[in-house]
């Protein structure tokens, strides 16, 4: 078990963004995190990597209680993430961005070794031809790749991907999926938030669904897709819809 999340709750004043979420994660797994907008997916990520301290509950990462750790401590233990809204270090070059990840990540490499790792990772995500450009000059798809490269360069045990496919065109999505598979083959465990259904259904070994901060379903992709509770969360209650239609006919 690489990650154990126990009854994690996060409240902002009166609003409960994440409520009593409990799940475990095995090494090498790809876990999909689904849920409508505002369901608390990103907040859950923020709790896992230390951006927020959970109001209640515990997070055990590789046998160590990391609840309430600052983000840099969590990062050094080998948990990396990308941001839904990209956060490039604009005035640094693409390569320097990735070197930061390698220097300050799990291995804490020196500059020279970090540069080697950065070049290798940039090759993997397909940004090696742009390594000397400023990060601000990249387009959105490339910035998403940069986010991923930075996270990968830290050689994490666990990688949290927050909507890396959003805003990409079909060809770019295919490219990104191939990259994610490659990362998984290297033995990195992944949790990904995604809205593109076919992508997450194909990639994930297991899926969790959040709604209003609560875990409403979990299981294999096919099971979750058939789950009435999940369908209701996304589309509304099908029976209720039928009833309403019937009433209208009368």
């Amino acid at each position: 078990m690489i990650l154990q999340v126990d009854n994690v709750t996060k409240q902002f004043g009166g609003l409960t963004a994440v409520k009593n979420v409990t799940f475990g994660l095995e090494e090498g797994e790809i876990l999909g995190l689904l849920g409508p907008n505002g369901a608390g997916k990103t907040t859950l990520f923020n709790c896992l990597n230390g951006v927020y301290a959970p109001t209640m509950g515990r997070i055990i990462f590789r046998g160590q209680d990391v609840t309430g750790y600052r983000p840099y401590r969590v990062a050094r233990l080998g948990l990396a993430r990308t941001h839904q809204i990209v956060r490039p270090l604009n005035e640094l070059s693409v390569r320097e961005n990735v070197v930061v990840g390698a220097c300050y990540g799990r291995e804490g490499l020196g500059l020279r070794a970090a540069t080697r790792v950065a070049d290798e990772v940039l090759e993997l995500v397909g940004l090696h031809e742009r390594s000397h450009q400023l990060a601000s000059s990249l387009n959105v798809a490339q910035k998403k790749r940069l986010e991923m490269a930075r996270a990968l360069a830290s050689h994490p045990y666990l990688l949290l991907l927050d909507e890396v496919l959003a805003g990409l065109n079909t060809a770019e999505v295919m490219g990104m999926l191939a990259t994610i598979r490659k990362i998984c083959e290297r033995g990195v465990t992944i949790i990904m938030i995604e809205h593109i259904m076919h992508a997450i259904m194909n990639l994930s070994h297991r899926i969790l669904v959040l709604n209003y901060g609560e875990l409403i379903a979990q299981g294999a992709p096919a099971e979750v897709a058939q789950d009435p509770v999940v369908i209701e969360a996304y589309l509304g209650n099908p029976e209720m819809a039928e009833k309403l239609l019937e009433e209208e006919e009368i």
Binding site: N49, Y72, A80, L92, E96, V100, Y104, L111, S154
Partner: protein, 322 residues
């Protein structure tokens, strides 16, 4: 070490060394005073740049370290009778210690709030010194003329001060370059670009920021001792001059924040300009207005400063200018 072969390092060093050696020919005392002011600005601006340019924290009150170092150094020389070269490191260590104590608190603030806090620190320190009798209170302290005997007379003492400043200035540039090229410096620049993202990548921002703050305080502490020893008098108003802080910001922004060469060129140019303005009939009373307008124009039109603009505009220069 391979760093010595980089033009980014030896170009600013060469410029400063050439300027520093100049007054030695013909024992020219008035030229020495001009260059003293210039070297001091270069060193203070380069120190400020470590926090302002690399880390992205605007320090409006950087002069507090200069004043504090100056005061403690002055006290050790005049009241305790220690040698100048012993007093200099005391000033530096005092300034660095203050930065270390304050750092973890004020560096939690960001943007304008941090800038305001730094002004507060300067004013608070000035108020404190005014109330300390052993430092002379509001009237400050004078250096007894007989102290110069130890250095072989006043002239020798002034030359000693000058050469010490020249060495410190070169040292600041070397440190500025090494910081920029190090893993530590990369962490600082990551903080400058996006502090939260940097923390997510594992940069221990509180520690890195405090270290940068301490480095950028240490050198002004050293230089304060030299400056006030040379002047022979120290007062609260001259030690904690807020407008000097603002002028240092102009120098860094003018030359190019976040570059090694920028503060050197910016400080030299600004001091030259200031000299011209102070001696002109028209501008002699409004020299600070010109500084203000200059800052405004830079921020609006070339926020990267001269060196930053050149690097951006002419790619081949990037290997040459750091």
């Amino acid at each position: 070490m391979s760093a010595w072969r980089q033009p980014g390092l030896w170009l600013p060093l060469l410029l400063v060394a050439a300027a520093a050696i100049w007054p030695a020919f013909g024992n020219n005392a008035s030229l020495r005073e001009t260059i003293f002011t210039m070297l001091m600005s270069v060193a203070l601006a380069s120190s400020l740049n470590i926090l302002l340019g690399y880390t992205g924290y605007v320090n409006f009150g950087s002069i507090v370290f200069f004043g504090l170092g100056g005061y403690l150094g002055f006290y050790t020389v005049s009241a305790l009778g220690w040698h100048l070269l012993l007093a200099v490191p005391i000033g530096g260590v005092a300034a660095a210690t203050l930065a270390l104590l304050l750092g973890s608190a004020v560096l939690r603030l960001r943007g304008a709030y941090f800038a305001l806090a730094t002004i507060g620190i300067n004013e608070a320190m000035k108020a404190l010194v005014i109330n300390l009798d052993f430092l002379g209170g509001p009237t400050g302290m004078n250096l007894n003329f007989s102290i110069y005997q130890e250095y072989g007379g006043p002239a020798q003492a002034l030359w000693l001060t000058y050469w010490a400043l020249a060495v410190i200035t070169l040292l600041v540039i070397v440190v500025s370059y090494l910081v920029k090229k190090s893993k530590f410096g990369l962490g600082l620049m990551a903080i400058r670009e996006d502090e939260d993202a940097a923390e997510v990548m594992g940069v221990v921002a509180p520690r890195a920021k405090t270290t940068a703050y301490v480095i950028s305080a240490f050198f002004p502490g050293l230089i304060g001792v030299l400056f006030f020893f040379k002047n022979g008098i120290i007062e609260p108003e001259s030690a904690f001059r807020l407008h000097l802080s603002v002028e240092l910001l102009v120098m860094v922004m003018l030359g190019g924040a976040g570059t090694v060469l920028g503060p050197v060129l910016g400080a030299a140019f600004y001091q030259r300009l200031r000299g011209l303005l102070l001696t002109s009939e028209l501008f002699k009373n409004t020299q600070l207005v010109v500084a203000g307008v200059l800052l405004l124009l830079i921020v609006l039109f070339i926020p990267a400063g001269a060196v930053g603009w050149l690097r951006h505009r002419f790619a081949p220069l990037r290997r040459l200018l750091e």
